[in-house]
């Protein structure tokens, strides 16, 4: 697995835990709210856990766009690069 693959799978586990799913049940483009019954609290929880685990800061203003695993992964990459 490439490093990006590892990161994606790590993220999948993190997000799945918040959404009370098994990692396999979480699809890359599944919508947190429409497909997995997430609410605003779970959405902020995902952002908070990523900030904590990866030591970055995703602005709360981006929260409305963080609706899928893919979007979250992109945000993580975007804000990690900024840090460097």
């Amino acid at each position: 697995m490439t490093q990006t693959d590892t990161q994606l799978e790590e993220l999948r586990e993190l997000v799945a835990e918040v959404l009370e799913l098994e990692p396999e049940e979480l699809e890359d483009n599944g919508d947190f709210i429409d497909d997995y019954e997430a609410d605003s609290l779970r959405a902020i929880e995902i952002l908070a856990r990523i900030d904590k685990q990866y030591k970055i800061e995703i602005p709360q203003a981006e929260l409305p766009e963080l609706r899928t695993l893919k979007a979250v992964n992109d945000a993580l990459i975007r804000h990690s690069v900024k840090k460097g």
């Binding site: 835990e17 009370e20 609290l41 929880e45 908070a48 856990r49 030591k55």
Partner: protein
């Protein structure tokens, strides 16, 4: 306020989940013994003040409730929600959207899940940045979390009240619930108390406890309460009548508290319209034979020495939940082991708070109005 009846109930104690587990433990208990509880083992990482505690081994809310919506439950919330599920089922409560606004929840505690509060505070002190806390765990830090989750789980939309009463917690709850029913805010209340077994509670019990005789414990006890003229949907049986409840305060504690407790006993006898001689059993918060902080004032008012049941000797120091456990013991005990008649439940806090309740247990199985 007039009395209420118990249409059903359940309890989670170190004996396990439900009425049968409690009854079995009582049947096995020997008179005068102090139960040791369970070996704590590696339940928690932190060093504990004793090898044993009165907790539910392998307690898993998921086992009883499923996966959805339970992953953020702290232990107190898990105990409370499972207990409510059992109590509603035992009572045979029939819920629909018409009655949901008429059923409330009143829950007693000392500090809610203090572990949640303290762990959250810890994060703000040790993390790289003080705001790297988990948003989803924030509601767990406030004391009304368990009652709120109970309401969400079962759609109970009437008055939802959390009472921080400590030792007096359960008697406070009975007062508040009785008032809510009498004044018509709700028709039915799931009334109870809960405390969780954690390093925080175990150490607090050790460091401030008045006695070393019992270890810390956890429990949840919930009782479905309704007016004597019970609505059909609240259950068809009546297990017991809570005839009267009184709480008071003795400023400065000591003698003032004893006077206040005596006053409570007088008041509940009068309110219930019963004679002192009818009280055959008392359930107090004492743990040692020589301790008569409550029994003394009780005996002075009653003019005789009823049987005394010290519930904490069996189920540990469960703070606000000990009163709920006491009522559960009253209802689950083998009737032949006890003289008939009325029971008195009392409590006395470390400061000056005191309280008493008179309960009449109905015939085995309860009055079936079905």
């Amino acid at each position: 306020m007039s009395g209420v009846v118990v249409t059903g109930w359940s309890a989670l104690t170190s004996a396990g989940v439900g009425v049968d587990a409690l009854a079995k433990r009582l049947a096995l208990a020997e008179a005068g013994q102090v139960e040791k509880g369970h070996e704590i083992g590696d339940l928690y990482e932190e060093p504990m003040p004793a090898a044993n505690g009165h907790f539910l081994p392998s307690f898993s809310p998921r086992e009883h409730l499923g996966r959805k919506g339970t992953s953020t439950f702290d232990r107190a919330t898990g105990l409370a929600v499972v207990c409510c599920q059992e109590a509603l089922r035992e009572a045979g409560v029939s819920l629909d959207d018409e009655v949901r606004p008429r059923i409330g929840v009143v829950l007693g505690t000392s500090l809610g899940s203090f572990k949640s509060t303290s762990d959250y505070t810890r994060e703000t002190l040790v993390q790289d940045k003080p705001y790297l806390v988990n948003p989803m765990l924030f509601p767990n830090t406030v004391m009304n979390c368990a009652a709120g989750q109970v309401a969400i789980r079962f759609g109970l939309r009437g008055a939802n009240t959390t009472i921080a009463g400590g030792t007096l917690g359960f008697l406070n709850v009975l007062r508040y619930a009785g008032n809510a029913i009498e004044r018509g805010h709700v028709d039915v209340v799931v009334a109870g108390a809960v405390e969780e077994f954690t390093p925080h509670r175990a150490w607090a019990t050790r460091l401030t406890g008045a006695t070393d005789v019992v270890a810390a414990g956890e429990a949840a006890g919930m009782f479905v309460l309704a007016k004597e003229n019970t609505p059909e949907w609240a259950g068809t049986r009546q297990r017991a009548g809570v005839l009267a409840v009184a709480t008071a305060y003795g400023p400065g504690g000591g003698e003032a508290a004893e006077t206040a407790l005596a006053g409570c006993v007088h008041r509940v006898l009068a309110k219930a319209g019963v004679e002192a001689s009818e009280v055959s059993t008392v359930y107090t918060g004492e743990v040692e034979d020589g301790d008569e902080r409550e029994f003394g004032p009780i005996v002075r008012v009653l003019g005789h020495r009823p049987d005394r049941v010290m519930v904490k000797r069996l189920f540990g120091e469960c703070d606000a939940a000990s009163g709920a456990v006491a009522l559960g013991v009253l209802l689950a005990e083998d009737r032949d082991a006890r003289p008939g008649g009325l029971s008195l439940l009392t409590a006395r806090g470390a400061d000056g708070a005191v309280g008493a309740a008179i309960v009449r247990r109905y015939a085995d199985g309860g009055l079936d109005r079905g």
